[in-house]
Amino acid sequence: MAEYMAQGKKPEVLFWVGCAGSFDDRAKKITKAFVKLLHNAKVDFAVLGTEEGCTGDPAKRAGNEFLFQMQAMMNIEVLNGYEIKKVVTACPHCFNTIANEYPGLGGNFEVMHHTQFLKALMNEGRLKVEGGKFKGKRITFHDPCYLGRANNEYEAPRELLQKLEVELTEMKRCKSRGLCCGAGGAQMFKEPEPGKRDVNIERTDEALDTKPDVIAAGCPFCNTMLTDGVKNFNKEGDVAVMDVAEMIASAQDL
């Protein structure tokens, strides 16, 4: 982004990569797939790179409002400094925080989840979404809580998947009644409380009941949780867990 600024240019959109997308080996693949799609659709985008910092979502959900607001204010300063208007991110937690909780602290941006952004590109005819190797495959989509229930977006990822000509099957608990993967509310970073079962195992069990070829996700944390779940059932050879962006990119052999 700094380079853009130095050249006096403004990107069409800022891609907010997020911590998982920047550091987590699995999530980095999602980042790269999404970037390939952006290039493919000739989107003029920038990233903050080392100037990006955690949005503060895990801190806020853990109860540390101080740390959240510190992170938020720093990020808002940076974004406002670069006069950013539009942000896209592949992480529903970053999406929710920047879209809903930053405005109250002085950060007003148009924020889109990457599935919403890809859908818009597709509708504008800038991005081709075609079946390729996923044609006819059984896919079930796991709704991320912070995209679905938290922000009422259930259709964008499904529309993209449908364009991939897949056989979309729904889990029993889906959309507004979708079951959490178990990572939200900073659970990703701690051991679960004692219980009968881990939440991701419960959810993966339900996903596997639909006999999918691929479990599609729209969140790097759900992706991790479900991947672990699939491994727990020793199904990693049969069932892949993939982000919607990865599927579109791989369908086109990008």
Binding site: G56, P58, A62, C145, C180, A186, E193
Partner: protein, 450 residues
């Protein structure tokens, strides 16, 4: 002498409504112990929610069986209450079926009340079997101990008895009407029972009264009439002691419910001012607080007084249906957290605090207890994934998640009592702006990796 029933009725009515009003004032007073909320925004959206969610029961039908049954009982109760209006007028002025001058309209009204009464009776019996025979899981969770379980059944019994009394009253009335019309009953009292109304249900009960004397029938009719109206007054006053207050509070509760996206948690203003001060390079770090400045507000909630009025209204509105708990990922997988228990605990503690204050002339005398630990356990609070399933599931817009979040804020910001792994996570965010211990300078490394 002839005015004794009218006077008795008047006394019962005033006592019933008076005691209820007194208790409702207590409820309002207790809710006002919470922090004030500003609900002046989104008025249109709020009213539309009241019509859709509360009046229209839109969220009840997410579960079709329970939803449909509930709508029957709900519509039945509301409409049959028009009949209560007539009963009150009759009771006060010694008239009999005063609205019968409406003619065909009256026939239609009584006819529909009867059908609804039967449907309510069947609905309530079905509810009872779901609870006690089918033993649906959400009614038998850990928090459904003796009182919550009994309370639910008492309410069902009340409704059954009221409906049976209503139909008995009509059947006896009909039997008397028929007797008078056929010339069998000729006393002056019996002559009140002129032929009015239509009785699609109780016409099948009336034959049971065949062959009874005029006097017995009048006693049956009068007893059913009195027991029905007294039953309604007792039931009205039972609400305060029970989870059943939702029949009233659901409406304001939905109005005050969240109108923002579910993922948007409130930003604490008290923290904002602190953070702004910290980030202000020209702030004087050694400045003493101004004379008479207010002490900084407590962060988060450890007791009911720290919660908002909406949250306390939520607690009084909860009717313990358990839809939240049955959708909660933590609860489903056997953790201790149950959003319903969060609401029940909040109400129980609020009642305890309220009674404490009433006993001590309006002042709260420290009882060595609080909502945290004495009611809601830390283990419950930390099991939440903030997924909003409970909020989505609640048919009357209760938000258990907001209470969990406020209590986490207290634990972290006042007590520094987060689980250790979360402390590590937060340290990472603070030091290198990511929840994991990666170097901030490596953020863009993915760009050059294949």
């Amino acid at each position: 002498m002839q005015y004794i029933p009218n006077i008795l009725f008047f006394v019962a009515l005033v006592a019933g409504i008076g005691y209820f009003t007194m208790n409702m004032r207590k409820v309002i007073g207790r809710i006002k112990l919470g922090k004030e909320v500003d609900a002046s925004d989104n008025t249109k959206q709020r009213w539309s929610n009241v019509f859709r969610i509360a009046l229209g029961q839109s969220k009840m039908v997410v579960r079709p069986v329970a939803g449909l049954l509930h709508i029957i009982v709900y519509v039945g109760f509301i409409i049959i209450n028009i009949e209560v209006l007539e009963i009150i007028i009759d009771g006060l002025f010694g008239t009999h079926r005063v609205l019968s001058f409406l003619g065909p309209v009256y026939d239609f009204l009584i006819g529909s009340f009867e059908i609804l009464a039967l449907l309510v009776l069947l609905g309530v019996i079905f509810f009872w079997t779901r609870r006690n025979i089918q033993k649906i899981k959400r009614f038998w969770a850990r928090e459904m101990t003796s009182w919550p379980k009994n309370d639910a059944n008492y309410i069902l019994y009340f409704e059954m008895v009221l409906m049976v009394l209503f139909l008995t009253m009509n059947a006896a009335d009909l039997a008397l009407q028929n007797g008078v019309a056929s010339g069998a009953y000729t006393s002056e009292t019996a002559s009140h029972y002129i032929q009015v109304g239509s009785y699609p249900v109780s016409q099948f009960i009336a034959p049971l009264f065949e062959g009874m004397t005029e006097g017995t029938l009048i006693i049956i009719e009068r007893s059913a009439w009195w027991l029905h109206i007294l039953g309604i007054l007792v039931f009205l006053n039972y609400l305060y002691f029970s989870k059943h207050l939702h029949i009233i509070l659901a409406f304001p509760n939905v109005y005050y419910g969240k109108v923002k996206p579910k993922g948007q948690f409130q930003n604490l203003d008290s923290v904002t001012s602190e953070v702004k001060l910290m980030m202000d390079p020209s702030a004087d770090p050694y400045a003493a607080p101004a004379e008479g400045a207010e002490a900084p507000a407590k962060f988060g909630a450890s007791d009911v007084m720290d919660l908002s009025r909406t949250q306390l209204l939520n607690a009084y509105t909860c009717t313990e249906c358990g839809r939240c708990t049955s959708e909660c990922p933590a609860n489903i997988t056997g953790k201790k957290l149950s959003p319903r228990k969060i609401m029940m605990d909040t109400r129980d503690r609020l009642v305890e605090v309220g009674k404490n204050m009433e006993a001590n002339g309006g002042e709260f005398k420290d009882d060595g207890k609080q909502l945290l630990d004495d009611y809601i356990l830390r283990e419950e609070l930390w099991a939440c994934t903030t997924c909003n399933a409970c909020v989505e599931a609640c048919p009357v817009s209760i938000d258990p998640l907001s209470i969990i979040m406020d209590m986490r804020q207290y634990l972290v910001m006042e007590q520094s009592a987060a689980p250790n792994e979360l402390n590590v996570t937060m340290t990472n965010i603070e030091n290198n702006s990511a929840p994991w211990p990666f170097n901030q300078m490596d953020r863009l490394n993915w760009k050059n990796e294949v």
